[in-house]
């Protein structure tokens, strides 16, 4: 067991994938010589050469479009998008080509492409560097969307993503890149569609992914001190959702709070709330509470702490859930 920061765990996952399968390639802006602006690909170019770890021109549509062509030729490209806010120039290639090609060909063609995106806020960055745009991809049939929250999972999920024959958008919580955790480098790749119950709870279930998992865990701790038993589920897979696990947990507690950094309006929390309500209508003691960013474009860093969900807002949502029906239940 090694103790590693998330960024390094992801780096080792790519390194191992490159070593195990010579069809795996890594490409993106500044990922070779520089090792990426977050250094997540550090050392890979030196070890595997410029033919396998490719510095590209500055064009995201080009990166994804080229990756599609490489995949059609039998390669397994792993693309890096430098920041969440810069994936949109590639949106057409992702949504109309990458996602649809297998269905279009009725299964004759498959595109094992991974698109890694450092995502989310909280690092004091300038505009376009703190977006949480998982919902766009999750709404797109044909893609899988994965979000990792800690070094061990990052390592296992990224390896699994690179092995999968489906196109995957892989979100990495950039502010957690330096957070350390134990990593078993021999752990098997994680299943790509199972949520992980991080903590059992009797009174309420918190559901989160990526950077919000830490917030959820902290809120659960705090609630525990107040005598409220709160469980935490890490989604890991945003699409598909592991609805069974979510419904099973919520059926036990009767209460759920979803936390994410994207705005609540049509965020993944909306789907989770709808799906849980469909499956646990009679068990639910209160409507599923959603805690997300406000419905604003990501504001200047100066106010991002107020903008993003924090432990307090999660605790208030737990309260609203617990007290639902007791007071005027306006949410």
């Amino acid at each position: 067991m090694a103790v590693l920061p998330l960024g390094k765990a992801l780096n080792l996952a790519m390194r191992r994938s490159l070593a195990e399968d010579d069809r795996v390639l890594v490409l993106g802006e500044d990922i070779g010589t520089l090792g990426g602006v977050f250094r997540v690909t550090d050392g890979l170019a030196a070890e595997f050469g410029a033919n396998r770890v490719i510095d590209t021109p500055l064009a995201e549509s080009g990166i994804v479009g080229t990756a599609i062509g490489l995949a059609l030729r039998g390669f397994r490209p792993v693309c890096e998008i430098q920041f969440d806010g810069f994936v949109y120039p590639a949106f057409d290639q992702i949504v109309s080509q990458l996602a649809k090609m297998r269905a279009r060909s009725r299964g004759r063609v498959q595109l094992p492409v991974v698109i890694r995106i450092p995502a989310g806020g909280g690092i004091g960055a300038v505009e376009h560097h703190s977006e949480s745009n998982e919902a766009y991809f999750a709404h797109t049939a044909g893609l899988r969307v994965v979000s990792c929250s800690n070094p061990q999972d990052g390592y296992r999920l990224l390896r699994a993503a690179i092995r999968s024959n489906d196109p995957i958008v892989f979100f990495e919580p950039k502010r957690a890149y330096w957070d350390k955790g134990e990593v078993d480098l021999d752990a098997s790749p994680a299943s790509l569609d199972r949520a992980l119950v991080l903590r059992k709870g009797r009174d309420c279930t918190l559901i989160a992914h990526g950077p919000s998992v830490k917030v959820a865990l902290a809120a659960a701790e705090a609630a525990e001190e107040d005598g409220v038993s709160v469980g935490v589920v890490d989604l890991r897979s945003i699409s598909p959702l592991d609805v069974e696990t979510l419904q099973r947990c919520v059926a036990e507690t009767g209460r759920a709070v979803v936390v994410h950094e994207a705005s609540t309006f049509l965020g993944i929390g909306a789907e989770i709330a709808a799906a849980i309500t469909e499956g646990c209508f009679r068990e639910l003691k209160a409507p599923v509470q959603r805690v997300g960013a406000y419905q604003l474009p990501y504001p200047p860093a100066h106010v991002e702490d107020a903008f993003l969900p924090d432990v307090d807002r999660v605790l208030l949502a737990i309260d609203r859930s617990l007290n639902f029906g007791r007071t005027t239940a306006h949410v």
Binding site: T56, S61, G62, G65, G69, L72, R73, D92, R106, D166
Partner: protein, 374 residues
């Protein structure tokens, strides 16, 4: 045969050229609109066997194309995008490629598909609404159609990069139109190809129109000039002269194969039909223009040249018969086309197991409930 190199669009020269310089530029032409060999054509000489093959494939393409229009008019086909008028650009170019050269078409390259061995059923499937992709790209080194304009040029760039990484000397060839060239993707593809010196050949069929938009509203210089500015080796050819298209493409593809970097061929041609069977081209272009291009018809032109070279009438008759037979086969195959069941599609979206497969059950339950089950 070894020929003198055909005129290539120069890379942008580094210093100001003599402003008094060049005469009005013309595309490479071996056979004139009247079917007579040009000076260049005479100097080069004609490979009659090749010319016959090109002619035959153009006749076949036209026969299929016209039959498809008829089928659409009769309600047997939902939509068709004619390639009439562009047969030389397509047949001439695809014949210059090696079989292993992987092609990414746009959506109007029926003649290319035919030459590469697609059946009428494969060509029609998409346009009668039973499939998004009519064939398996592996079968004939021919990717299926891309309908979002220009996207396939980047796929071709990636594929070409893959070929190079594999040490394969196959050239990747991508077709697109004058309109598509305005998309960011196409320009990114030019740039990637040039920067990485990739083995890719871009073939633009400039058929003068993108639906109702003429090239004058589409770009400010010609595309072969733009391509040269990106650092592609670039050729401009009379796209209604099958022999010229073949010769230019052969030269371009071999230069790519030799490692001289990516290239572009701009074939100047014309779409005789509407943009699609839903389009009414009378709304935006004149009869005169159409007539002028009809007089440059690629089939008539090559037929005249072949006749001058001594090919007999009964050979042409045999070719026509071949075309008619293909038309009949097209009709028969079209009528026999059968669509999939929605139920079949749920398992085809993802390679690895995925809960969407459960929606199949829900769909089938719904069919049962509404009495529409199988």
């Amino acid at each position: 045969m070894s020929h003198p190199a055909l005129s290539q669009t120069p890379a942008v020269p580094a210093t100001r050229t003599d402003p008094s310089a060049p005469a009005a530029p013309v595309p490479v032409q071996l056979v004139g609109p009247d079917g007579r060999l040009t000076d260049a054509g005479r100097a080069r000489g004609v490979d009659v066997d090749l010319a016959r093959r090109l002619y035959r494939d153009m006749v076949r393409a036209r026969a299929l194309d016209r039959e498809a229009v008829a089928l659409q008019r009769q309600g047997e086909l939902s939509l068709w995008l004619q390639c009439e008028g562009q047969e030389a650009a397509q047949v001439g170019s695809v014949h210059a490629l090696a079989d292993r050269d992987h092609i990414f078409p746009s959506y109007r390259e029926h003649a290319v598909g035919l030459v590469r061995g697609l059946t009428p059923a494969q060509l029609l499937a998409q346009w009668c609404g039973i499939a998004h992709a009519g064939w398996d790209p592996a079968e004939h080194h021919l990717h299926f159609n891309s309908l979002v304009l220009g996207t396939q040029t980047l796929h071709a760039v990636g594929y070409a990069l893959g070929c190079r990484l594999d040490g394969d000397d196959a050239v990747t060839v991508v077709y697109f139109g004058d309109g598509a060239a305005s998309q960011g993707d196409v320009n990114e593809a030019f740039n990637w190809a040039a920067t990485m010196a990739l083995p890719v050949l871009f073939v633009c069929q400039n058929n003068q129109w993108a639906i109702s938009t003429p090239t004058s509203k589409q770009f400010g210089t010609s595309l072969h000039d733009r391509a040269a500015g990106f650092g592609l080796r670039s050729w401009w050819v009379d796209g209604n002269d099958a022999l010229a298209v073949h010769a230019v493409t052969a030269e371009a593809v071999e230069s790519v194969r030799r490692g001289q970097g990516p290239a572009l061929v701009e074939a100047e041609t014309y779409r005789i039909g509407g943009h699609s069977t839903s389009d009414d081209p009378k709304r935006y272009r004149t009869e005169e223009e159409l007539d002028a291009w009809r007089r440059r018809d690629p089939l008539t032109r090559l037929r005249t040249a072949l006749t001058d070279l001594g090919v007999e009438a009964d050979w042409f008759d045999a070719v026509d018969a071949d075309g008619s037979e293909l038309a009949a086969r097209t009709r028969a195959e079209c009528q026999a086309l059968a669509g999939p069941d929605l139920a079949d599609l749920f398992a085809e979206v993802y390679a690895d197991p995925h809960p969407v497969e459960r929606e199949r059950a829900s769909y089938e339950a719904h069919l049962e409930a509404t009495g529409r089950g199988r």
